[in-house]
């Protein structure tokens, strides 16, 4: 079971309150987690990555175990802590302020 934490706007869009839990084939990767997320919540298609190219949207980042993995290959296996459900896969909207 993979735990996914979504930013507030995407939780509202998907109609979920807290974390999302997904069954993902071993070994999970960012790409397979997002595939499962979009299959379960089709309204999220296009909001995290482009529907045609699967490229991550510019102002969306992925964090696991306190580490930004946004620029790492989307098909690399996620850490064991994420695969086991001990740590979540975090989708983060880039901060803007000032």
């Amino acid at each position: 079971m993979i735990r996914v934490v979504l930013p507030q706007h995407l939780r509202t869009l998907a109609g979920v309150d807290g974390e999302v839990r997904l069954d993902v084939q071993e070994p999970p990767t960012p790409s397979s987690v997002l595939d499962a997320l979009e299959a379960t919540y089709p309204m999220l298609r296009g909001t995290i990555r482009d529907q045609g190219t699967a490229q991550r949207r510019a102002f969306v980042r992925f964090f696991v175990c306190g580490r930004d993995i946004s620029l790492e290959p989307a098909d690399d296996p996620l850490p064991d802590e994420v695969a086991s459900g001990a740590e979540p896969f975090r989708v983060v909207g880039a901060m803007a302020g000032g």
Binding site: H9, R45, G46, T47, I48, F59
Partner: protein, 371 residues
């Protein structure tokens, strides 16, 4: 209920304002889709309960929402706007060529007869159509594929297709307007298009009278006279009486002929409304006075309507999709400002009241007449 439902898109959500036919007391519902930019909300003329909304942010892209119960509940529908074929290039701000890139839906125009058919004008400029209630979208690529496409250039707000008019006497004839390319017409349901910009002059262009490149801000039509079009251009208010084949300037005695929206009275095809703005570099009302200017002669002779509008220290703008009319009698006129006010007139503009004062910056206003 007989009355009016205003569909208001803002920088931070959508609002639905509802009144009975007296148009004196308004119920305010919102924000819907709080925190998202709502460029446009528009209802089907064939089914008043069917409403479409364009929802977007720079973070999470484009969402299309649909309501089947008059705005009480909503569901996300299709949001994949894929350009047909190889996207090609258009002119960029610096004169170089730049690939077409989808940014957002600016305008939604439901079919006059079929609630499941709706057109979307998008940035970078293209026209899409859905025939399944917004679930899937197909580009009408004959427009973007016009031989002038590589000359189209973005205005300050982007290369946006912001106006879609459907001829009520012949749905195969449509007009679209693009900043900054100009106006285009199809007579075959969107397969082929021709630029219709003869008579427009734009001093910003090296060739003032070129075929495309004009920054048309909005066009409007009265349904009883679909060959007569009115235009608020970057500068100049224009009219055409031959379906856009030629245009004449009708700015007349306006305090400024720069502005964004233009609207036609619901029952008087020669009565039109604009909101003069000082200049393209300032985007505020002249002299700090918010005035709607009305012509009852189809242009040239204008009167400033000020009753109920701020006449000092007012520095808001009114964007191109933020003015609308209802179909009640006497006719109602509405507009929203970048300062968050929505003003209503139930007497064709003679007097105005702010329905709300403090919404987020208003991007669009549509008026649904409920009967």
């Amino acid at each position: 209920m007989t009355g009016v439902r205003l569909l208001v898109g803002t920088r931070k959500g959508a609002f639905v304002l509802t009144s009975d036919e007296s148009r004196t007391e308004w119920d305010v519902n919102g924000p819907l889709f709080a925190g998202w930019e709502i460029y446009h909300v528009n209802a089907s003329p064939a089914d008043p309960d069917r409403i479409y909304a364009s929802q977007s942010t720079g973070w999470f892209g484009q969402i299309l929402q649909r309501s089947d119960d008059g705005g009480r509940t909503w569901e996300p529908v299709g949001n994949e706007f894929a350009y047909d074929g190889v996207p090609r290039t258009h002119q960029w701000y610096d004169g170089t060529q730049h690939p077409w890139e989808f940014a957002r839906v600016w305008h939604l125009e439901p079919s006059l007869t079929d609630p499941d058919t709706v057109f979307a004008g998008v940035e970078d400029a293209a026209l899409f159509r859905s025939t399944d209630g917004g679930k899937t979208w197909q580009e009408l690529s004959g427009l973007r594929g016009h031989k002038t496409g590589e000359q189209w250039q973005p205005g300050a707000g982007g290369l946006c297709l912001h106006t879609i008019l459907i001829d009520p006497e012949n749905e195969d004839r449509m007009f679209v307007a693009i900043s900054a390319a100009g106006v285009f017409r199809t007579d075959d349901g969107g397969e082929t298009w021709q630029p219709i910009n003869r008579g427009l002059r734009s001093r910003e262009l090296p060739d003032e009278e070129r075929e495309v490149g004009h920054c048309v801000h909005r066009i409007a039509m009265h349904p009883s006279r679909p060959s007569t079009l009115f235009m608020q251009k970057h500068w100049h208010v224009m009219r055409s009486d031959d379906g856009g084949d030629s245009w004449q300037k009708v700015s007349g005695n306006l305090p400024s002929d720069f502005g964004f929206p233009i609207a036609v009275h619901p029952h008087e095809p020669e009565t039109i409304y604009v909101v003069p703005i000082k200049s393209d570099s300032e985007h505020v009302p002249p002299d700090g006075k918010l005035r709607v200017c009305r012509s009852r002669a189809g242009g040239n002779e204008w009167e400033a309507l000020t009753n109920g509008l701020p006449q000092e220290h007012c520095y808001v703008n009114v964007l191109r999709d933020a003015m609308a009319v209802d179909r009640l009698d006497p006719g109602g006129v509405y507009f929203g400002t970048t300062g968050g006010q929505v003003y209503a007139s139930s007497d064709s503009g003679d007097s105005w009241t702010a329905i709300v004062h403090d919404l987020p910056s208003v991007l669009s206003v549509e008026a649904q007449t409920l009967q």
